[in-house]
């Protein structure tokens, strides 16, 4: 395009502005995009607009059936920013996300590297296992884990006691929030590893063998080969996987909600649960909406990184 403009040459067809072919060429992409844009507008933009509007309103139970809130400006935002518990929840959510994402990435990559070394049979078995984990619906997975860490009959308590790790008879995993949140980190990492592993494994297949061999011949140790050759080639994939994981783990809700009988104590509030709690349990829907908007803003930052990488990747290839 740039070269055309520089040369000053204008093709003849461009002068006929309404040639059928040209209209088709320029509008076709828009037509093809229109349904997607319409769907996004309906299911995303409009609810988001309502959410933002509600966050500037006092919206209680009466508003639910009159469908009218009272405009109170930024009072909801002022309230959450001056609320110590809110910042506690933000910090907890950030740390929780960091723990989940880093563990997912490290373990996921490690298993992907392992997959390239094992025999065909082991690889297929491992892959099948990963896909099965990926295929388990969240609610079913939570129920499975719930049984494992059950207070009275949990297999985790039974196994740990049998292995003489300690006396875990009637050990309550959720009595201490650190161990309770640890269970959730394990559950989420377990569920997220398959996607990361399979993606990284596919990406590893794209790393030219010659480069690895050349590095090995030059005397590089396996770790150096990974760091100096594989990592740089996979960086775009890692950035995309990490930002996607951040987006997913930041909004964790169902796992905690279902595992703790829809009544998690405040030690287990993540931002998503806190927003839900303010809305549906305290019936302050305006306040809940303000928290949700703040959360969307946080997520937007993560999404920007992701989009930038996507665009960059697009430029490279």
């Amino acid at each position: 395009m740039a070269s055309v403009a520089e040369s000053g040459y204008i093709p003849a067809s461009r002068r006929r502005r309404f040639s059928r072919r040209r209209v088709g060429q320029t509008t076709a992409p828009y037509v093809l995009l229109a349904p997607a844009v319409a769907v996004i507008g309906l299911v995303l933009a409009y609810p988001l607009y309502l959410l933002v509007k509600m966050s500037f309103q006092e919206y209680g139970i009466r508003s639910l059936f009159t469908h009218k809130g009272t405009w109170i400006g930024t009072a909801n935002y002022a309230r959450i920013f001056h609320d110590g518990e809110f910042w506690h929840v933000v910090l907890r959510t950030v740390l929780f996300t960091a723990a989940c994402v880093s563990l997912t990435m490290v373990l996921g990559t490690a298993i992907a590297l392992l997959l390239t070394r094992v025999s065909r049979f082991v690889r297929i078995a491992l892959m099948a296992g990963l896909v099965l984990v990926w295929a388990v619906p969240v609610i079913v997975a939570v129920d499975l884990w719930r049984w494992m860490v059950d207070y009275e009959f949990g297999v985790a308590n039974w196994t740990l006691t049998k292995l003489h790790v300690g006396n875990f008879v009637r050990h309550d995993w959720f009595a201490n929030p650190w161990s309770g949140l640890g269970v959730f980190v394990a559950l989420i990492v377990w569920g997220a590893i398959p996607f990361v592993t399979i993606t990284v494994y596919a990406a590893l297949a794209q790393v030219p063998k010659e480069l690895l061999e050349a590095a090995a011949i030059d005397g590089a140790k396996p770790w150096s080969v990974f760091r100096e050759v594989t990592m740089p080639l996979l960086t775009p994939i890692f950035v995309i996987l990490t930002s996607l994981s951040i987006i997913w783990d930041f909004q964790v809700f169902q796992q905690i909600w279902v595992m703790l009988d829809a009544r998690p104590s405040s030690d287990y509030y993540t931002m998503a649960i806190y927003a839900f709690h303010q809305s549906f349990q305290i019936s302050e829907y305006g306040l809940g909406a303000a928290i949700a908007v703040v959360m969307v803003a946080f997520m937007f930052v993560a999404t920007l990184v992701y989009l930038r990488q996507m665009l960059k990747t697009g430029e490279v290839y």
Binding site: F18, V23, G24, T27, A28, Y30, V31, A34, P35, A38, L42, G60, I61, R62, L64, F65, H67, Y151, E152, V169, R170, D172, F174, A175, N176, D261, A262, R263, P264, S265, S266, D267, H277, F280, Q281, I282, S283
Partner: protein
Amino acid sequence: MKVRYLVAGLLVAMLAVAASTASGGTSRSHATKIVVWLQNDAQNGWPDAVATANRLFKAQHPDVDVDVQYQSWGTHLTKFDAALAGGDAPDVIELGNSEMAKYMAAGAFKRLTQSAFPNNKTWLSGLKASSMYNGKLYGVPYYAGCRAVIYRTDQYKQAGIKGTPKSLAQWFADGQKLMKKFGKNGGYSAVYFPGKYWYAAMSFVYDYGGSIAVQKGGKWKGALNSPRALAGLNQVKKAFSLSRASKTGDEANPQQSLVFSKGSVGSFWGNGWEWPYALDTKVGNPGLAPDMGAYPMPSHIKGRIMPTFIGGSDLGIPVTTKNQSLAVDWIKAFTGTAAQQEIVKGGQIANTTKLLSASKSNPKLAPFARAASSGWFVPTSPNWTNVENGNVLQDMLVKIATGRASVKAAATSASNQITRILNTGA
């Protein structure tokens, strides 16, 4: 050019689809069904009362079906809020008596005419009060319930306990005897007392003269850190030591009467319906029938009864309903004498004083009816439900049970939260 028309046509079509779905559902000419939300206590405890009401209603309206949908206490208000906003709220809903004020204050219920309902002159006064807001009636009393200690008579005998305890000190001593005799079994609880069971825990607070909150000059103030309330909470902490129930669990998950029916529980605080439920042939253990008894929880003052939470439920008609007269007819059938007698059989206290004597003469209900003579109720603020749903008391109790905070620190933090929540919007 054609393509532009195509785009325009597509957009028009989409708008049309959106518009038609938005206007759908408003044209309802003739109701063929009413939707009733009841709590699952009715499903477990007195299904015959529901059947009776439906039969009576069906006789009156043969072409209208009743769809009874059972809800659980933990989530029913969330669902109700969502249903109100979505315009598909039920035609009749059961709310706990402590949940009514919030919704009545918001104008979520239709106003009702008292004289239209059966036994309206003899409604239990506590339940009637919870159905009224600013002197107007918005709910119909459904049933009342209070808790007593349900226990294993055989285990008490084997542990050398004679009679039922007449004071809190004796109750603790009996608990220790039970633990000594059966506690070697690592799962045994002399008293099954899960960490979040706040109805039971708050009774100790009221027994020592404390309360959850007090009202002064129109303002509420959390009172759980008062010396009297703290005295009660210290006894709660002591009572937790007689229990091996989950310190982060509650009385409904798992259902405590079913845990009791499995054998390694000496006693628990239960509602009247939980006695027969423990003997249920499908989920309980009918074999326990000869070894079960109940007594009102004794006070720390010898010879007195510990105040119990006067619980219960009312039925309301959401303002969004289009079937008000049908809803009224169903409520009439469900709160009439015939259905109420089934509720009494199920172990609960009827909504009318006319049936009280029936409860007192039944040995399985008498302890509960006696317990009802000394009761406490939650602060009567429209914001109270937010304390309940905000898990304020549950969180405090978990901290006390697990020892993560001292009784005083946990109570002070809860008290401050209660002050803030109760005064919201006041």
